[in-house]
């Protein structure tokens, strides 16, 4: 071989077998099992290059091939001489069937590839925002009762907080920034700016704490699958994209 085809180039034992069948122009329905087993084993010597998970699959297939090979060498049962049963008795039958099944999906995946390429290069846009002060829907569905309830809840919360804090001597630092607010900020920012980088989000940050909160908010948005981030290089700026 002029250039080494490594075993790691194959998706699995079936993929490798197909490579061998095609290379040697074998008939899949009548595979010369001794020949293919030898060729297969040659590739297997390269197995050290595989991670253990995949390696085991290749080794199992080698064992299967050797088993089929040995069965082929056994004399046929003279009692079942008729043609019909000979196919079923072929020790290769199961392997061939599996290979054909695999080939079907391998071929489909080759058809899917160009379909993917077409669509992967389509760019979509974000929704438009209509800012309309007159036709204001900010208060839609909100009643005075809701406002009253909101106030009562705050009052209750405050009362609880007071009773908890009374015993505490130290003055708690007031939370200046919250992840929730930062999430809203980032959402708005990425909606308005196609190419957002993290450094832009933290310009104007008052302190380290705010930067950390911004970072946490970004992580949360990634978790919510609203944005994706990537870096062009290690320590490069984090580039943020809306999903």
């Amino acid at each position: 071989m002029d250039y080494q085809v490594r075993i790691s180039n194959f998706e699995g034992p079936f993929d490798l077998l197909f490579h061998l069948i095609e290379k040697s122009e074998m008939n899949i329905y009548d595979i010369p099992i001794a020949e293919i087993t030898n060729q297969y084993l040659e590739y297997i010597y390269d197995i050290g290059n595989l991670d253990l998970d995949n390696a085991s699959e290749f080794i199992v297939m080698a064992a299967t091939l050797l088993e089929i090979k040995s069965k082929m060498l056994l004399p046929k049962d003279p009692s079942s001489k008729d043609e019909a049963s000979s196919d079923l008795d072929d020790p290769r039958a199961e392997l061939v069937q599996k290979l054909i099944e695999y080939k079907k999906y391998k071929d489909i995946s080759m058809i899917l590839k160009p379909m993917e390429e077409k669509r992967i290069n389509v760019v979509y846009k974000n929704a438009e925002i209509i800012d309309d002060v007159k036709e204001d829907k900010l208060l839609l569905n909100i009643t005075l009762e809701d406002i009253k309830e909101a106030f009562n809840e705050i009052a209750k919360r405050r009362a609880e907080e007071k009773s908890i804090n009374e015993g505490l001597e130290q003055e708690l630092m007031q939370e200046e920034f919250t992840v929730d607010d930062k999430i809203d900020d980032i959402r708005e920012f990425v909606r308005c700016n196609k190419n957002t980088v993290f450094s832009e989000l933290i310009t104007g940050s008052k302190n380290k704490f705010e930067i950390i909160i911004t970072f946490l908010a970004m992580l949360e948005l990634i978790r919510l699958r609203e944005i994706t981030v990537y870096q062009n290089s290690i320590y490069g700026d984090i580039i943020i994209n809306q999903c």
């Binding site: 438009e128 196609k194 190419n195 699958r225």
Partner: protein
């Protein structure tokens, strides 16, 4: 401008009985698809325009052809009875110059094989996939689930209640399929 509005009105007037003429409907739908950015369902559009769903579908499918024929820089894509506007793949090099060069990573060979099996054999267990591919597919499947191309669609009523996998709406969009019936026919394959 005035002239255009004139034409607009004339068409509207010519159309007796119906509230809208087809050209105006297409124009409004174009605006809706643009404003939405996201996929719109036939129902959404039918609700907004107060037009029967079958008619909306007919018009949208016509619009897809119109856009292609007129070599528009925008196309309308359809998947799962949803419609969305997008740029044309053949313009990607220019769009890339404009926007961040975020080249989306295409699926690996293993992922394509796996998703082919899931698409045709759904609902299907991991075990079946492994057995067809001859290798463990756990990592590949996890990746496809993360990409939202594949999802958990239930459990098989068998020992261990294995999870059943199927493709998503995103899968249709990803490969440019209107629905699963548009998958390439297996019978056409030469094996």
């Amino acid at each position: 401008m005035d002239n255009d509005l004139q034409t607009y009105k004339q068409i509207s007037m010519a159309d007796d009985g119906k509230e809208f003429d087809i050209k105006k409907i297409k124009s409004i739908i174009e605006g809706l698809l643009f404003a939405s950015g996201e996929p719109l369902s036939i129902e959404d559009i039918s609700d907004i325009l107060q037009i029967e769903k079958f008619e909306v579908k007919k018009i949208l499918d016509e619009m897809i052809v119109d856009f292609d024929r007129e070599l528009r820089g925008i196309q309308i894509i359809c998947f799962n009875d949803k419609y969305q506007m997008g740029t044309r793949p053949e313009h990607i090099e220019y769009i890339r110059k404009l926007l961040n060069p975020q080249s989306k990573q295409s699926l690996s060979r293993a992922a394509l094989e796996t998703i082919a099996i899931i698409a045709y054999k759904q609902p299907v267990t991991r075990q079946s996939i492994d057995s067809i591919r001859g290798v463990k597919s756990d990592r590949v499947i996890r990746n496809l689930i993360e990409k939202r191309l594949v999802t958990d669609v239930g459990r098989l009523d068998a020992p261990g209640k294995p999870i059943l996998l199927g493709t998503t709406e995103e899968f249709l969009k990803y490969f440019g399929l209107k629905d699963l019936s548009e998958l390439p026919k297996v019978e056409d394959l030469e094996i």
